[in-house]
């Protein structure tokens, strides 16, 4: 009996240490970013364009380019992802042998390192299709990269609805369009949003796929065919290539993280609100 007890104690000790270590690391890193990012942070940072290679000024144009790239990415991902997610989740869609194949290839696509998407986007969108290094090229590249994640989470959130909904709808003679349009999608909305946020988060965090596709021009983009740098690339460039750029790199990192946290928070609020949100539609 004492043997069992000792084992229990040791295990608890090791596991607590792991837990506390991680909490410590989290505090250290996030604390570092908040601490350095906040020192000397002014609101002007968000409303001015970068100057002096980013050492001075703010990140207005970078924010704009980031937003545009995300929009392009969403415009492609959302419709294709949603439809594919429905196809994969619906047992009446006749996926048969096709669906597992698709699922398989999506899982695989999700595992492809992002730099390979960068290679692909550069060669295909920028070069072959003549879109050059531009926001459009970057957004499309990101879309392919994010698509599998969104599809899988859309599928999962639709699957998480009880099968009985689908059965009941069938038993009432409802068409699939009616079922998804009026019942399933509204009910799965929080899950779908979660998938979207997951995808957005990935896109926001991406650098490797973008350096050869959207480029890193710091100016305010005027069209989708302009090159533009995202927040992540701005951080990379400031940290790597700009002496004296660390401060603004930290500020940008702070903005990026706060943005990601905010999206996450909104998502959680949404999920928590979801029952009433769903049901009062």
């Amino acid at each position: 009996m004492t043997g069992v007890e000792t084992q229990n104690r040791l295990a608890a000790l090791a596991i607590w240490s792991a837990g506390l270590l991680i909490l410590g690391a989290f505090t250290l890193i996030v604390g570092d970013i908040f601490w350095r990012g906040f020192s000397g942070f002014e609101l002007g940072f968000l409303t001015e364009d970068p100057a002096d290679a980013g050492r001075a000024g703010g990140i207005r144009s970078v924010l704009a380019a980031t937003a545009l790239i995300l929009l392009v990415c969403l415009a492609v991902t959302l419709p294709i992802g949603l439809l594919t997610g429905i196809f994969l989740a619906d047992y009446t869609a006749g996926g048969g042998r096709f669906a597992p194949l698709v699922r398989r290839s999506l899982d695989t696509l999700a595992g492809v390192p992002s730099i390979v998407f960068g290679l692909f986007g550069n060669a295909v969108f920028a070069h072959l299709l003549g879109l050059r290094i531009s926001i459009l090229t970057g957004g499309l590249t990101l879309a392919i990269m994010v698509l599998p994640f969104f599809i899988r989470s859309a599928e999962e959130s639709l699957r998480s609805l009880p099968v009985s909904f689908s059965q009941a709808a069938e038993a009432l003679g409802l068409s699939r369009l009616t079922f998804y349009g009026k019942i399933a999608l509204p009910a799965a909305l929080p899950g779908l949003m979660a998938g979207l946020v997951l995808g957005l988060g990935r896109a926001l965090a991406e650098t490797a796929a973008l350096i050869f596709t959207s480029g890193y021009v710091t100016r305010l983009p005027e069209s989708l065919l302009d090159s533009g740098r995202t927040l992540s690339i701005h951080i990379l460039d400031l940290a790597l290539n700009v002496p004296g750029g660390a401060e603004n790199a930290y500020r940008t990192a702070l903005v990026l993280i706060v943005l990601l946290f905010a999206i996450n928070g909104a998502l959680m609020a949404l999920t928590r609100l979801s029952p009433s949100y769903r049901e009062y539609r």
Partner: protein
């Protein structure tokens, strides 16, 4: 003189999943304007057989239904022009109530507009009539925009009944409709079923022998052999409960087995 055909007539129906039969050789006849109970132990294929009657297991991957099914004397294919229409006419209620996670109103409206088109007044009328027929109107009249999931279990099941009745079905399939409800709520539903049988044919799968005794006009008793279900005995409720012919029925109804 011609007899009116039974509401449902099946001949040698079998349902298999991935080639493995769940029930087989089911020949049964369910009259109109009656409650037809199907009883039997768990897993003997009662639900599988029931969903074959409105082709609901057609979309279950790997499920195959064989044999002949006639509704009111017409083969399934001729009876309704398409699946949607068939399911409007042959409605189904499940063990757990399945309200959609929307408002009560939307729960009623969606199927009605799907089948009868978008006509606000007619829709409202059908909705009210159906809710009244299940005795729910008084309870929810003033809060139709409340989420249906906030109703109690019994109310939810009555809502599901109303949702189906609004489509004016001729046959109502019920798969253990009260087993997830508390005794009071179950009592209300039983009463409703008794009222409904004047207008349509009801097929009631139940685990609860007492319930079958209380409600059924005919009883079909499923038992299992070689891993799949078959009809061990069927007939008027009185006969089956009081003077069953088969040994297995006798033992089952006496509570010795199952």
């Amino acid at each position: 003189m011609r007899h009116a055909p039974p509401a449902i007539l099946t001949h040698n129906v079998s349902v298999a999943f991935d080639g493995k039969p769940a029930v087989s050789g089911i020949s049964a006849s369910f009259p109109d304007c009656a409650i037809n109970a199907i009883v039997g132990p768990s897993g003997c294929g009662k639900s599988s057989f029931l969903s074959a009657l409105n082709r609901l297991n057609e979309s279950v991957p790997g499920c195959k239904v064989d044999g002949n099914i006639e509704l009111f004397g017409a083969a399934l294919g001729r009876f309704a022009p398409n699946r949607e229409e068939l399911r409007r006419t042959v409605a189904m209620i499940f063990q757990r109530p399945v309200p959609f996670p929307l408002s009560i109103r939307r729960n009623m409206e969606i199927p009605i507009t799907e089948h009868y088109g978008r006509n606000r007044q007619e829709t409202a009328g059908r909705c009210e009539a159906a809710l009244k027929s299940v005795g729910l109107w008084g309870e929810v009249e003033n809060r139709l925009d409340m989420p249906a999931t906030q109703l109690s279990g019994g109310q939810q099941q009555r809502l599901c009944l109303a949702r189906a009745l609004a489509l004016e079905p001729r046959i109502l399939l019920l798969d253990e409709p009260t087993s997830a409800l508390d005794p009071m709520a179950a009592g209300l539903i039983e009463e409703l079923l008794r009222e409904l049988k004047s207008q349509m044919s009801l097929v009631l799968v139940t685990h609860n022998l007492a319930q079958a005794r209380r409600l059924a006009d005919t009883v079909t008793f499923f038992w299992m052999k070689d891993g799949h279900g078959y009809v061990a005995e069927s007939g008027p409720a009185d006969t089956l409960f009081n003077t069953p012919r088969e040994d297995v029925s006798r033992a089952y109804f006496a509570g010795h087995i199952g």
